[in-house]
């Protein structure tokens, strides 16, 4: 009648709820307070009482769910599905979105401390990952043929993904290069611009000459870049703002000179 999972969680919940009542009375609760959640009397020490009661209520709720679907026992699942034998769990296709999502959440976390722009970037990455994940899940269950599912998924998503990725890469490149150019000296910016141009040319030549780039190398490059971005964020956070920022704020005269100098 009562399943093992129900017994465990119900026992856990009842014991913790009981502990809450005991805790309430032994820490200064009075009258019916600990039994009525403070309605008729004091409950004693508030945090311990609230958390023990919360733990108890949550565990009992889990117990009730488990007994509702019979611990999700294989026999109960088969009965629910109306089949003799319960199917094995389906194999999920490979996807790089979980790793991208983890880096997105990492960027959000660092952005909380470092800068709103980093946080928003992480948020956008997480949003993209959520949509891609949703589409992957949909495609996995579209038909029983994994290859057809893959084609179906790409047919729907590729017209969005490729232009979006291209635009994002161009925007990122322009933004990053502009920051570098602004941060370096006059001569340095000329050198950087030259190097970046040559780099773009080289990558283009590489793409044209070798149509299929080793995906492990590509994955390695993306991973190293992602780690470098997060590491850069952490380093930027712990080292604080660069000195010349303080300089401009602290001494307007010097700042004006430096602007004039440029």
């Amino acid at each position: 009648m009562f399943t093992t999972g129900f017994k465990f969680f119900f026992g856990l919940g009842m014991a913790l709820a009981g502990a809450a009542v005991f805790y309430g009375y032994t820490t200064g609760g009075n009258h019916m307070g600990p039994l009525s959640m403070g309605w008729k009397g004091g409950i004693g020490e508030h945090l311990g009482y609230s958390l023990l009661l919360g733990l108890g209520v949550t565990a009992i709720t889990v117990a009730l769910f488990l007994v509702f679907f019979r611990d999700a026992d294989p026999a109960a699942q088969a009965h629910y599905m109306g089949v003799e034998e319960i199917p094995t769990n389906s194999l999920v296709t490979a996807s790089f979105w979980p790793v991208v999502g983890a880096f997105g959440v990492g960027a959000m976390a660092i952005g909380l401390v470092l800068h709103t722009a980093v946080f928003v970037t992480g948020l956008v990455v997480c949003g993209v990952v959520a949509i891609e994940w949703l589409m992957d899940s949909w495609a996995d269950r579209a038909t029983g043929d994994p290859e057809a599912n893959r084609v179906l998924r790409n047919r729907v998503m590729a017209p969005i993904e490729i232009p979006a990725l291209g635009a994002a890469m161009v925007a990122l490149g322009v933004l990053a290069t502009s920051r570098i150019l602004l941060a370096t000296s006059k001569l340095g910016s000329v050198v950087v611009a030259g190097v970046v141009s040559v780099l773009i040319l080289c990558i283009a030549v590489l793409f044209v000459s070798k149509r299929r780039i080793n995906r492990n190398i590509l994955a390695g490059l993306v991973l190293v870049t992602a780690v470098a971005v997060l590491a850069g964020g952490v380093v930027a956070t712990v080292t604080g703002e660069r000195d010349f920022h303080h300089h401009e704020v602290d001494d307007e005269h010097d700042g004006a000179d430096s602007v004039e100098g440029h």
């Binding site: 609230s50 629910y80 029983g144 043929d145 179906l152």
Partner: protein
Amino acid sequence: MVATTGLPAPEVTRPRSLLVGTMFACAAALMFFFAVTGIYILERAAARDAGSEWFPEGVIELGPSGFIFWTLILSIFTIQWAVQAINADDRVNAYVALLLTGLFGAAIFNQLWFIINDTGFAMAADNAQFLFFFVNGTFIVFLIAAVVFVAFTFIRAMAGQFGPRRAEAVSSAALFWNTVVFMWSIVYYLIYITK
């Protein structure tokens, strides 16, 4: 379009996995919430024991937060309507119900934003105002998560992958939504009724 006629049907997947996973996630979310409200209860009791004022008199109004409460009560019916409709293979009703639930969520977000702004509280002002932001902010985060869950379920429902005995995702969204409603009932009682 890719011709899918003649291709094998998707595998029969194990039921309950998503529901069980959501159940554990809801348990974790509830405990986070209880941790936050537990500290609120503790600090409020300490302030009152010390004879000091918690919130300034008349700043927290019951009316707007009550609208949220009753809207959320209404949303319990709409989300369960969606579950029932999917189980009955009634797609149109399921779409309408999920859309309505999502709209209720957006309306609640709007209302709560108004309430928070209306108080004129500042996070750094004192402990009471900080915890006011913290508890309401926690609820907002869970509300957004619930709306996103419902929105994704709506999209999956539009793709036609749900039906009788394949309503796990809708049931899971409903479970998370109802958990969020439960959270508000606690926030409403703690902050807006008993202040």
